[in-house]
Symmetry: C2
């Protein structure tokens, strides 16, 4: 059976075959178009070409579907961040900046995932799998912070957890305010990536992670 559950003639039989995947695809599509708020269960079913009762075979309700989308989003983000970090190559500092850039790129390129993850108002408490996926995304950032901190002599070494929280907050703030896929809310005199890079540069100088203070461009 083909991936889409359709035969060579383009039609599908009684069974869809990949409805779960198709519903998630549909959800991403619809969230991208209308935002997480405007997304409905019935819409997803219609979009996947099944009756409105069919999704109940795969998801308890609308929120369960969105939570699954969010979980996958965090997994994807983890992958992207890990790839950007690249085990600290070519050097921890450059790699750390790449992680920040990857966060912005994710917010821009995957607005639907980003919405489901951060704007759908999901509670993490009732969903251990979701929480765990989010934790793993953050762990990449934390691990990178630790390696960056480890380069400093112990007496001027900042707490890595704090550093990763600052980095996350700055990246998330810039992404939310300026780098959304929908064009953002405010025009900027520079690219969001530049804004983040300049901010991280200044921050790392303040920490003493960078010895040589590079003058930010006017």
């Amino acid at each position: 059976m083909s991936w889409s559950g359709r035969g060579p003639d383009g039609r599908r039989g009684y069974h869809h075959g990949n409805l779960r995947e198709a519903l998630i695809e549909a959800a991403l599509d619809l969230i991208a178009k209308k935002g997480a708020a405007g997304f409905t269960f019935a819409d997803a079913a219609r979009s996947a070409g099944v009756s409105s009762a069919a999704p109940y075979r795969h998801f308890r309700d609308r929120d369960a579907l969105i939570a699954d989308v969010a979980r996958r989003g965090f997994n994807l983000l983890t992958e992207r961040l890990e790839h950007a970090w690249s085990e600290g190559r070519p050097d921890p500092f450059t790699a750390f900046e790449n992680v920040g850039r990857a966060y912005l790129a994710f917010a821009r390129d995957e607005p639907a995932y980003y919405s489901a993850m951060f704007e759908a108002g999901l509670s993490f408490d009732g969903d251990p799998a979701l929480r765990q996926a989010a934790e793993r995304s953050f762990a990449v950032l934390r691990h990178a912070s630790e390696l960056l901190c480890a380069r400093l002599p112990p007496e001027k070494r900042p707490p890595a957890l704090m550093m990763s929280l600052h980095t996350w907050a700055l990246s998330h703030g810039i992404a939310s305010l300026f780098a959304r896929g929908d064009g953002g809310r405010r025009r900027l005199p520079m690219a969001p990536e530049e804004l983040l890079e300049a901010g991280m540069l200044i921050y790392l100088q303040g920490l003493g992670v960078i010895a040589e203070p590079a003058k930010p461009k006017e």
Copy 2:
């Protein structure tokens, strides 16, 4: 007529008297309870004790009501930020930190306004009054940044606009991730205010706004 439009016997006549205000109050209440997504026009009418057709006398539709709430939210935020800035007293540095703290306090104390302003997916393009209100909030931050920058010798003076964007993004990131009125998504090893203060301290050190590098606490 009393503020609430009710007579001494507690009942109101045919005319409400302050329906516009009452609808906005109701919207704040409902957004605080169910989030901006769950808020409906009919709910607001019910909550204000009028028929579901009545709100149309005052707002074109649901979005117009939310936009008005958001506009008021920005006005309130502007007030709070200006009060915190206090014309740079006692000194620009302390005042600047107070502005950041006021931002977090606003996100925490006024989650309904915050939702309407940043999470309702409103477009600023079609609403000049809303855009202007948002601009004025940002202008406080920008003005404060300029005064802080002006203390530095010209050759090491950073661009004030960039500095204010970084400050906004960091504050907004921390507020969104950790300091929402609904309890936030993640447990922190420190208060959001401390996290912001430490971050701004490090950032300002990196800029050279603070001469003496203060060691962040472990």
